[in-house]
Symmetry: C2
Subunit: 356 residues, 2 copies
């Protein structure tokens, strides 16, 4: 087995089992021959599935892991009892250096808890975050939003770290030279919103550098616009907001389908509109933006969407490959260390609880 | 001037001036001859506009108010300097008993601050909330969500009050016999999310009655589904979530339009799809759900959407009429008082800071 990028796969996570995961891997291997996989899970089951995909099998090393972390498992219990699981093994393979990135579509809370334990937090990071790409009017089609639920609440210092990590990530993912960071709030006027958001704005403003620009407060409507490239918020707000937007998109999709099914003429119209509709669907397809990325760890971890099919998984793998190729965690750590070393930044004033 | 329902109108609020407001009023008067208006604003301007609408003019009493609260005005300043404004006068007309409900499409923060000062909080309410109707798969087309930004953060006790008010409101607005209340969280498993959300769940569960059922934690995706009828959250989360969903809907609408403009054949398809699309648009049209209702005050106040046109305003007026006809604030107060009198409810354990 050779190839520049090795990706560690938790093949047993996710609601649909290893099938769609392997389909996604196949899809990607056909496009990027440099990728290799270390696949963790039930080896009998995986051997059987790989027998039908010899091209993929040639790129895979299967490592047996008897345990599975259930979607309903509490993170604390998963950490205690899940050391023989495909999830744990997938992360260990990154910690050992055998792979550059781990991917799982399993239980998010368990994955984050295990990742913190196995990979540890990056220097300068108090709390890791999950970043997602959000369909928008941006040139490259997406904005970056974090935290989407790695944590619950965030203090101003956490939000500053999210800003720095999010900007580095948007730079890597979309090639934006100096990403514009916005802080999600219930209004854009100064003085609006909770106290901790106002304090965070001051911290992020003071940390502005050649790596990112701070555009101040942004609102929910801005998420699909071009007001900012990176949107910073706490995990609770991020999670609820993301799911509300997904729910809205699904609701509209269903309403559209119902509308086209309504009569003979609407069915006839739908026939001509088919390519237009599929063009639109591609643009707003949440599966294409699949892959919540864990930022702030000594290693790259991608959470693929639980309900994702092959397209979504391939998109997550693509992203992971990019992170691995550019040594992302090291670059973020360097950025935070620089902030910290700079005497007049507010980080300096709050030492003591640092991860370094 | 006669008629069972008198509505007090702030004609000068809103981004587009009195024009669309009067159009909305006309629209409604043609459907509901029992409605009468007391209209506050610049009397020269209003007289001119009403001259062109004699049918509406017959239903209106104009009261001159020289001041206007700007959309950018801080609430604290609006309270201090805005006593001659159309907004203030519109609220005073409810306090005096001349009208049953006030409607404004002006500055939300100023409207809430003035409403608390002029109408005062209902007995048993610590913090009023703004409720909106959210397009959903529900039979009647909408769910109810609060608080959408009257306040910033909410403690468990505030969230309990939102639950009670929201359930009464959903009962009134949609005729749901025993509305199902859900508490917005980042997951549905017990123990998920912030501490205050878990405490609120306990309070709401204990307050369950023949007036509402508590279905526990709900997620962002549930907002457009039929999981619950009423969704309870703090003002910060509600505001960001609502705006994110609106942004998503607008983004999809634009993507759809672009898709149909793409080629000759897609334009041709769009021709046949037109009625289907307008059918869908009606269903998800946020203007039809227009009207954030202020709950928890001794009087009914409706905030019409700032960018609303005539359809949206008519929808807000219709809702206000319904609230006025059913003496809504009194019914909510009775409900809360009953909860409070009931010895084994948790409200009893937290006396001292009550508004009563």
């Amino acid at each position: 087995m050779s190839g520049s990028t090795v990706i560690s796969i938790d093949a047993m996570g996710g609601d649909r089992g290893p099938g769609p995961i392997l389909t996604g891997m196949s899809h990607l291997v056909s496009q990027n021959p440099d990728i290799r996989f270390i696949v963790h899970g039930d080896d009998a089951k995986l051997a059987e599935l790989l027998r039908k995909r010899p091209d993929l099998a040639a790129k895979c090393e299967v490592r047996h892991a008897p345990g599975v972390v259930l979607m309903s498992e509490k993170p604390s219990r998963a950490i205690r009892d899940g050391r023989d699981s495909s999830m744990w093994k997938a992360l260990e393979t990154v910690a050992s250096g055998d792979a550059k990135v781990a991917i799982s579509s399993g239980n998010t809370g368990a994955l984050m808890a295990m990742a913190i334990l196995i990979l540890r937090k990056s220097p300068g990071i108090d709390r890791p975050a999950i970043a997602v790409t959000w369909p928008s009017r941006a040139k490259h089609g997406y904005n970056t939003v974090l935290d989407m639920g790695a944590d619950v609440r965030a203090d101003p210092r956490n939000l500053l770290q999210y800003a720095v990590m999010g900007a580095e990530y948007a730079h890597l993912n979309f090639g934006i030279p100096r990403p514009r960071v916005g802080l999600l709030n219930m209004g854009t006027e100064p003085g609006k919103g909770p106290q901790e958001i106002q304090e965070a704005a001051k911290l992020i403003e003071a940390a502005e550098s050649e790596r990112f620009e701070f555009v101040g407060f942004v609102e929910g409507t801005d998420l699909s616009k071009t007001t900012a490239d990176v949107f910073v918020t706490d995990g609770f707000t991020g999670n609820v907001t993301l799911k509300a937007a997904e729910g809205t998109a699904l609701f509209i999709r269903d309403a559209l389908r119902d509308a086209f099914r309504h009569s003979f003429w609407s069915r006839f119209g739908a026939l001509f509109a088919l390519t237009s509709l599929s063009r639109m669907r591609q643009r707003i397809d949440p599966r294409r933006a699949n892959g919540g990325v864990f930022l702030g760890l000594n290693g790259a971890v991608v959470k693929s969407h639980g309900g994702a099919d092959a397209v979504g998984f391939a998109s997550a793998v693509e992203l992971a490959a990019k992170m691995a190729e550019t040594d992302f965690p090291r670059r973020v750590a360097a950025q935070l260390a620089k902030l910290d070393a700079d005497g007049d930044t507010p980080l300096e004033n709050k030492a003591g609880e640092r991860g370094e």
